[in-house]
Amino acid sequence: MKLRVDYRASLSLVGSILKYLAVPLCFPLLVALYYGETVVPFAVTIPLTVVLGAGLERLDPDPDIRAREGFLMVGLTWLSVAVVGAVPYLIEAHGIPPAVAPVRPASTLGNPANALFESMSGFTTTGATVLGEISFDAHTRGIMMWRQLTQWLGGMGIVVLAVAILPELSVGGAQLMDAEAPGPGIEKLTPRIAETARALWGAYIGFTVLEAALLYGLFLLGIDPNLTLYNAVAHALTTMPTGGFSPEARSIEALSAAAQWIIIPFMVAAGVNFALFWHALTGDPRHVFEDTEFRSYVGVMAALTALLSVLLFTGAGFTASAPADGTFDAAYLGEVSGIIVGQVEPTLRHAAFQVVAIVTTTGYASIDFNAWSTPAKYVLLFAMFIGGSAGSTGGSVKVVRWYVIVKSVRRELYTTAHPEAVRPVRLAGRALDERAIRGIYAFTLLYLVIFFVATGLLFLDGVRHGQTLTLLETMAAAASTLGNVGPGFGVAGPMGSYLGFSNAAKLFMVALMWIGRLEILPVLVLLTPEYWRR
């Protein structure tokens, strides 16, 4: 059988991108040098990725990318980047001679499945972790910075970044970005796709720098002694990609209320279509507020925040007592709920923070929402399916798709009563192509099917593995990894980790994160025989 896909061209371009992965790898290397830690994980990985990349690149000296090669290239890029990204974790966990680094407690990342999970979770901006212990005792600052950086690289998209800087990708770049970009279709901001990619990355870098500066400002002002330069940068690197990794074991709960209030608007911004920022800068900022998706996005978060605030304020958001199996500390529950029940500011802050963190799929936690009651948890589970805006760094289904679905269902009801009526579905006044609507239906249906199948498989694996998972916990784990949210409930809660899952389940979730980040179709198409056949 002769293949119709020019896989050599795809691999060659994957090689180009891998080669350049050496550049960001230098950053944690410098961090490690600064803190006087071992540089071995990076010193090994950098030449490795360059050699591997250059080798792949030689497969096709003049790669020609068309639609089919594009899907393969985008899919493989994310997979191979995640694999290479796992190498520093593995090296750190194994074989660094004691002479080079002080002895540390054994890292959970020594297990290749765990290292790959952590790396994929990083690049797909999921933020689900399998670290046994999140602290600088267990891991070097360099490794922890690499963990943050993977999210930042994955946020706006590795392929978008590649299109911005690699001239050979300018032709076909739009197709590549389309395969990677969240939401239906991409919006060209400039005639040249590379410029569009640069504009998007420019806004992304700008926000990251601004957030890091504001957070570090809190440290300088003495408001939050925990926000050292390292921490300020680390949190900015994982807010803007809607990632959710934190070098703090207690996530954002470890930071002051002021820092939490600062992070909320940045998470909101990260879930906004970045093209809107570009329009705001180059055109009329008022148009941003007229954007249908933006309004629905803000509206849905405001509504959920209000609902959750009421639950938390009245105390209905907390379980009456600790569960019998002792999944969390009863004393801690009393402490947390006691602080915020009946208090306006903390209730509002935690409700807004948690809703925004889940809707945008950032997955940070300002409070251990594991201690909340089932109704409050269901609000969050529901929020996991909303997602950010198209063209943002957020994951999940995306607001615009739900908007279109609601509108087209209403149209369906209308045409049932008036069969001759012709009613296009409008998005911001513009009529949508019926094919686009069909695509949205197909995506959403597929998303939900995968979610249910994944829930079932994870549940079965839990039984096989001897894990006691509730249905809510399994659903949350599936929704969280598929939607690139991060934390779930129970063992995988915001203060816990996915460590307890079996290796098989973890690898399955790696796949979920991968197809979730690339919005299913570009990955699934690779699995169809029609794609490969001549």
Partner: protein
């Protein structure tokens, strides 16, 4: 003045006939028979030839013509005629087009195509239909600033909610300015404390929507407003513009179009219209959709006979009023005799518009109130204008009494003028001016 008319069709000959008694008229047409007809039936010089050819135009004497009107049935020919004329003379050029895209281009840049004034057949026909449908209580309605601003004159009846009420109390509309009150033949500029008396005529300027709202307030019984049910049959250009203009006035019309592709296309362009894909002669469909309950049916299909059929059918199933587009001038009276309530002939409408325009002269958009008591003008503000760069409160002091700034549009956006609004150069301003001070005011603007 010498006026050259290219195209001796119905529009051209009608204009020629109207202008012949005042002006020296030369008509060009490529059809020799028509030319001969012209020469015998009207007091004009008719020349056979190609209106786009320089030689023919020179033969017609465009060099010292004051005005050239291109009124053939072909848009592109008319445009080329105007461009050619502009290249060889200084005559004022008027072109008639059907395609609204050309109109839009020309409105963006009045230098486009070398045309000084453009009239769009389909749009004008639609506008005159909508004027018949719209605002039953209004005596007069005129559009400004490309339809974004409307001037309307209302008569206040004895039992109207706004009679015996001060302007301040009546002014509950954000995008509406009370420009004048016409009482016993005099023009009065209203102040906040002015009381609206029964039988006054109130002139308001504002967005079409706010004018519509005001209409509902003035005469709640007379103007059912948005509740008025209009069904447009036929998605022709005219049908489309009727629906679009009705939407602008806050109606939610229904439009019936048979061709699926055209129906979809129209549905995309008309967000507030319910487009139905069906044959308007399908009685079962008409019954199911209760078309008979409509207050008015506009028949805007491509053929006169079909429009007649639709109108008669509509009247039969209980529609109160029918308006039909009739292309053939001779049919208008005939159709009205057999049962169409109002027949609208697009060519006639265009001929009227061009004639009206040539009579008025000048490129400003003007509406006359009460035949000459006052004028409503639309001007584009330049740096030299007394209005530019200052608050209206301040600039109005420098103008004589009897001037009201009714509406401002900036970058196609409506701005409600208030005392502290600053007018910028480039804005379009719609002013109400008392006839007594027009000549004094115009140079200042």
């Amino acid at each position: 003045m010498r006026v050259v008319i290219v195209g001796a069709g119905q529009v051209g000959s009608s204009i020629a006939a109207d202008l012949a008694d005042v002006h020296e008229v030369v008509v060009i047409d490529s059809d020799a028979e028509r030319v001969e007809d012209m020469n015998y039936s009207h007091d004009v010089l008719a020349i056979a030839g190609d209106g786009t050819a320089v030689s023919t135009l020179e033969e017609a004497g465009v060099d010292d013509a004051g005005m050239v009107i291109a009124s053939t049935d072909d848009d592109e020919t008319n445009i080329v005629v105007c461009s050619t004329v502009k290249a060889i003379s200084d005559a004022f050029t008027i072109a008639r087009v059907k395609n609204t895209e050309y109109l839009r281009t020309w409105q963006r840049s009045k230098k486009a195509f070398g045309i000084d004034f453009m009239v769009c057949t389909n749009l004008l026909a639609a506008e005159s239909i909508v004027r018949i449908i719209g605002l039953p209580a209004a005596r007069d309605v005129d559009p400004f600033a490309g339809g974004r601003v409307q001037m309307a004159e209302f008569e206040v009846a004895e039992n109207s909610p706004v009679s015996n009420v001060t302007i301040r109390e009546a002014d509950r509309f954000e995008a509406l300015t009370f420009a004048a009150i016409l009482r016993n033949g005099t023009v009065e500029i209203p102040r906040g404390e002015t009381v609206i008396q029964p039988n006054d005529r109130v002139v308001v300027i504002g967005t079409p929507k706010s004018v519509q709202e005001f209409a509902r307030t003035v005469a709640p019984d007379e103007s059912p407003g948005t509740a008025e049910e209009v069904v447009v049959v036929g998605g022709s250009e005219i049908g489309f513009h009727v629906a679009r203009l009705l939407e602008e006035r806050g109606f939610r019309p229904r439009l019936i179009e048979r061709d699926p592709e055209r129906a979809r296309n129209l549905a995309e362009k008309l967000p507030d219209t319910v487009v139905m894909e069906s044959d308007a002669t399908d009685t079962e469909f008409l019954e199911r959709e209760h078309v008979g309950d409509a207050d008015l049916v506009v028949a805007a299909l491509e053929s006169d006979e079909k429009n007649l059929l639709v109108s008669l059918l509509a009247a039969r199933i209980g529609v109160e009023r029918t308006v039909a587009v009739i292309d053939t001038t001779e049919y208008v009276d005939l159709f009205e005799a057999v049962g169409v309530d109002v027949g609208v002939n697009p060519r006639e409408v265009v001929a009227e518009e061009i004639t009206r325009f040539t009579r008025e002269g000048g490129a400003e958009n003007v509406a006359l109130i009460e035949s000459d008591k006052a004028e409503v003008l639309e001007i584009e503000v330049d740096d030299a204008s007394v209005l530019a760069g200052r608050e209206i409160r301040e600039s109005i002091q420098q103008l004589p009494e009897g001037v009201v700034v009714g509406a401002i549009t900036r970058d196609r956006e409506f701005i409600t003028p208030r005392g502290d609004t600053v007018v910028e150069a480039g804005d379009h301003v719609v002013l109400f001016v008392d006839a007594a001070v027009v000549s004094e005011v115009t140079p200042e603007l």
